[in-house]
Structures are given as C-alpha cells and as structure tokens.
Symmetry: C2
Subunit: 399 residues, 2 copies
C-alpha cells in the first residue's frame, strides 16, 4: 500500500464524520478551545487507549467507561484545562459536558445518549473548568458543526495548548475507504507536557474488536515510542471511531497498516512540534536480547538529560550514550557495543573510533544507533533534545 | 553524639594520613588535576562502594579488584579525564599509574605494592589519559606530599571538574578519633555529570568488615539518595580508609553514625554545588507501603523534568507532582495523597487546596512532601532544579 498521507485533511476526511472547533472562552486568550467530532454512521463502533498513569483525569475515567460499550457517536474535546485532580466535582463536570453534548445533538436531530459521548480535556492540572463557558460552548459548537460538513482543521486547532501548529493527516486507501486523524501534545505513555490527545476516524466497516486490535497495534509502535521527557500525562487519550460509510470492510491487516501509518505520521508531527525542540532525534537500539529489551534501552537513552543536552549542543558525546546504556536492567557487554551518530560509528570494540568527536550533528535531525551485539531485538524511540526553550516553556507554564 | 562538622578540614584531619594535590598538566587549563591520599598506618584497612553502571571505567575495574583484599595504602585520583570506555589500553594506563605510585612511595620509604593503590579518574568519557603527564605527576605529587603533613585541601581541589568549590569535612568524635572526607561531583548510583568521587579517612581502629558495613549503611542513606539528573556515571567511587592511629576502637554503631554524618554533609555540599543548581530540593515521600517504595517514588519525582523545571520557575505546580507520582510501580489511591510545598498543603482529599497556587517557592531551598496515605514507608531524596544553567553547562561539555 503506497497511498499518500495528506496533511491538509483530518478527522472529516472519511465519509460520515463532521467536526467543528470554536472559542468558548475557556482559554483566557480567546483562542479556539472547544472541539466536537461527530460520527453520523451508519456504524458507531469505536476503540480507545488511555494513559497508564494511576492519576487519571476525570475525562479519562469517563471516556474509559463509555468505551466499554465499543460504541461512540461523538467526542467533545477542550483545551484550556485538564480537569485532572479535581475530585468528584470534576467528574460531575465531565458527566455534565457529555450530557450537554448528547442533548444538543439530539435537539439537532442526531439522537444521542451521554454514554455515546467521549470527553477529552487538556491544559493545566488541578483547576475546575469554567462550566458555564463549557456548556455554552457545547451548544455553539453543535450549531457550528451543523452549518457545514468540514470543520476538521478548526477542531484540530481547538485542542492545541503549547502546540504551535495543528496536526492532522488522512490516508485514502486505494480500495475506497479512508482513515483520518488529528492530535495535539507530544507523547503517549510517556508524553510531554499536559496531554497527548488524538482522535482517529474511518469510514471503513469495522467491528469494535477490529478497531481495538488496529489501535493497540498502532499505538504500541508509535505513540508508545514517542518519549519527549519521560513524563506521563494524566489525560492521554487516543480514540478511533468508524462510521462504516464507505461500505467497505477491509481486512484486519489492511486496517492495521492504515491506522499505523496515520498514527506514525501524527507522531512525527507531534515530535517536530514538541516543547522546546531544536533537534528531532531517533534512537535505535539493535542487537538486544528481545524487542522489549531494545525498547527499554532506547527509552532510557531518550530520557537521559545528559544525552539530550549533548545533542542540543550538537555534540557527538558517545560516552554519555554508553553511560546511559550501562543502566539497562539486563546484562550487557560494553566491548560488544557499537554507538553511531547519523550512521558514523563513534565507539566500537571497547574504544572510541577515529574522528568520533568530529561527527557533524548540527542539522535538525539526529539518528543515534546503539548495537548491543547480543541478539536480534530492535526498537526505535523518537525524542527531542533538552534545550533552553524546553526549560523556559516549562518553568513558567502555570503562571 | 553532637560533635560538630568542620568543613575547613578533610582527609588529613584523622591521624595517620597525608595528602597532596598538584597540577600535572592533564587539564589544559593548568588547574590542579592530580591528588594523592596516603595512609601511614599503622593499620591499612579499607572498604569501597562503586557505580552500579554496567559500563565501568578502567579505574573502577582496578580499584574494585584491589579492594577485595580489604587493604589500601594509597589512593591516587585525577581529574581531566575519566579513562572510561578506553578499552584494554585504558586499563593498562590505570595499572601503570598504580605501579608508579607504589614505586614512588616505596622510593620515599613507604613500602607499597600496586595492589595497595586505588585509582580514581574523572572527566570526559572516552579519551585516553596523557600518560606522560600522569606518570610525571605521580613523582611530583609524592614529593609534594612528603614535604608537609597536610595537603588535604589541595587534594580536594585537584579532583574538581565542573565543581566550583572543593568539598571536605571532618568530624572529631569526643572519644578522640576522627573521620574526614573529600568529594567531588554530584551523586552516586544516579549522579550527575562525569563522576562522583569521595575519599573518607579515619584514624579509628576498624576491620575491613566494620568499614564496609559503615560505608554501605552510610552510602545507602546519603549518596544513593542524591539524584541530580538520574544519570549514573561510569566512574563513581567512594572509599573509606582506616589508619588505626588513634588506637581507639569505636563500636560499630559509633563508627556507622560518624561515617553517616560525614557522608551526609558531603552530600549536602555536592547538592549545593550541582551543575546549574538554583534550588536545593528535598523530596520526601511518606505513607508508602515500604521504605523502598517511598524511595522509588521520591526518585521518580527527583528525575521528572516537568517537576524540576516548575521548581526552577518557583512554581508550586502540584499537578506535575501528582502526575509523576502516578507512575509508581505499586498501587496508589490519588484520593489519599497529600502534596505539600515547604510545609503548605497544596493537594489533599482528591482536589487542590485553597491558596495552593500562591505558595512562595522563591527561596533557594524547597521541600516537596508527598504523603501517599498507605503505610509507614518514608524516604527523602535530594535533588536540584532543571535550569538554563544546567542545559548550558551540559550542552557544551566535551567541546
């Protein structure tokens, strides 16, 4: 399958979906802050994956619950506040938001129950949402959505926090079905600030089980392997909704691959717009006993402050890479390790390679490769450098 | 025991020890870079703890080996190069250094074998040491040491890398025995840049086993709980040498406590001089199922970039603390957690406390307390903030 990825389209690229994004006044700046994605069917199957953090925001608790049905008609998303660590009242706010969306959609003619509405929130942890504005916004965003067939980009803009650009993509399969998606934030399972939210849509005919399989397979290889700063959000959510409007039922394999490609592209967009990024870094560990071992080692490197600051300084400091790798929880032999930057070996056979300090890392993309020389396990983690801008952005976020 | 800690004294405070520090030309800057500590006896018992990193520098491999005898006459330490990841030739360099020290000391009249000489190195990973300068320096540092009884401060200065001040301390026990020490760097087991090196001396009479017990107990509660950036060095070494010159045999309990107090004070000095530090942060987790659980949770917080950047910004961002705690590998209940900054509760009973955003963290010392409300496990980890200076210092280290 070589269908192109089109970044000017998103969640409304597949047939059967509408979306909208408005400024509800949740953000003090007056920017877009409330988004709605509606699945007009005929099918309403859905799947979701959520943060592994034990501290989970109210909207995660809610959406996880409604997803147990394998059905969704709508997703409402707000930026400007995470509604996390807000106690029982925060959960009531999420519930009230879902009820309001269901009522507004039903009034408009699309009969919907609150149990069919997922809720996602992103922003500062700990504050209650301004519910008068959220509920007023819900009415408005449904009206806005009713006005036209495509508000996908506005929806993608309305979920941005420190993102500088909206992230969306669509893949039109040659067999006449489509997968689209939008995302914000910078990670999943170990994401960056605030939250990674992603809504994927498809007009394929697919059961909730097929969607769940495709989504988990894709998330494991994409969002799970994007690690900006090792911090895991309370709000991370990735949802996949199918309308069946194409009347095409792809094979599981075809669905898996299309969802994987869309997720992979959204990941690349998240990485490129991560907080304070000046370098896009791909860390590949090969020669590990297992793929899990390789992933663990790559993640360790992606989280190492000394490796990340060195790469910010365009410094091929392979010593720090070795020191970080030395902390993996399985047995390694330093003499079998090869460390390369952008394809140039800098350490091999137990010692530094000639010219290792002169490898040019001044470009915006850096590949770090570590071959452990032990087995066939291999994994790549995407990350970014640790820059002044990262410190700046994160030292003044709540003030 | 309320014996005062005296920071103007170090490894030569106990009877039976000499030390010296010289500029051997290993550092391009011409600063002091070679130190020697000699135990003149009558006893020569010793113990050591080393990095847990699987990538270990040549001097760690060497010193670990010689320590199996439980005896040391001398420690030679250099800054200006870690001699890590330098292969078999690097190990030969360490061996040659120990041989040179043994020969020079024997010439001077203190009969010494290479097997009685520990070697410590610190600096950039990956480069061979300039052995002509190291070996020339060994002759010179023995001469320097022979000239006077106290070169403790010069020795402490000669092991500095990015340290801005030498770190030493001595404790004179009321029963007429003394523990002294010097250190450089910023951590152990999970230390900051390059290396944490520490040499402790005592004139107490103590077996190698007693020293080992005291050192491990102290390191576990001090250096093991100093975590600047989660990165673990290839060279970390803490050595404890006993001369027996006081002719006093303290109880194990008294020895444990004196060594603990000296290590604790050196830790405080290391924290205060850590790279890029603008805040000295103590993170205490209580109410955990076990002490190990508490320590793991505190370490997770100490390594969280979002927590550390928030504290750099004097921001009482308890949401990030909760999000980080949510990743502990044991089951927690967010509703039972209390988060406090400098004694002011900011999150309790599942929601933010009134005034939580106004807690004043503008001072240089910050206490973060997290009570998990589960059990009696409690531990404190010392760390620092993640500042612009940290990024600056570490993005240009090898260049």
């Amino acid at each position: 399958m070589t269908a192109p990825l089109i970044r000017t389209q998103g969640v409304t690229a597949p047939a059967g979906f509408r979306a909208a994004g408005i400024a509800a006044g949740i953000k003090a700046s007056g920017a877009l802050d409330l988004a709605l994605v509606l699945n007009e069917g005929p099918d309403h199957t859905a799947a979701g994956v959520f943060t592994r953090n034990q501290v989970q925001a109210a909207p995660v608790l809610w959406s996880r619950q409604v997803l147990t049905t394998g059905r969704l008609r709508a997703v409402v998303l707000n930026s400007g506040g995470a509604n996390a660590c807000t106690g029982p009242l925060g959960f009531q706010d999420t519930h009230a938001t879902a009820e309001a969306v269901a009522a507004a959609l039903s009034d408009w003619g699309s009969e919907t129950g609150a149990i069919e509405v997922a809720v996602c929130s992103t922003g500062l942890i700990g504050d209650r949402l301004p519910m008068d504005r959220v509920l007023g916004g819900v009415t408005e965003v449904v009206q806005e959505m009713a006005g036209g067939l495509s508000g996908g980009e506005e929806a993608a803009r309305a979920i941005m926090t420190t993102d500088t650009v909206p992230k969306q993509v669509a893949l039109h399969h040659p067999d006449n079905w489509t997968v689209g998606g939008m995302a914000k934030g910078a990670g999943m399972m170990a994401p960056s600030l605030a939250t990674m939210l992603c809504v994927l849509t498809t007009d394929a005919v697919a059961s909730a089980e097929a969607l769940d399989t495709a989504l988990r397979r894709a998330a494991t290889r994409t969002f799970d392997r994007l690690d900006i700063d090792g911090s895991c959000s309370t709000n991370d959510t990735v949802l996949l909704l199918a309308s069946g409007a194409s009347e095409i039922t792809p094979t599981q394999e075809a669905l898996d691959e299309a969802v994987l490609r869309v997720c992979d592209d959204l990941c690349a967009q998240l990485q490129a717009d991560a907080e304070g990024v000046t370098k896009r870094i791909a860390i590949t560990v090969s020669g590990a006993p297992t793929e899990d071992d390789a992933l663990g080692a790559a993640r360790l490197l992606a989280r190492d402050s000394l490796v990340k600051t060195a790469l910010f300084g365009s410094d091929p400091n392979w010593g720090r890479v070795l020191a970080a790798v030395g902390m993996v929880p399985f047995t390694i032999d330093p003499n079998r390790i090869t460390v390369s930057f952008n394809g140039s070996p800098t350490f091999a056979n137990g010692a530094g390679a000639p010219g290792a300090r002169e490898v040019d890392l001044t470009g915006p993309d850096i590949e770090v490769s570590v071959d452990l020389g032990l087995g066939t396990g291999r994994a790549t983690v995407r990350t970014t450098d640790l820059s002044h801008a990262y410190v700046e952005e994160n030292s003044a976020y709540s003030s």
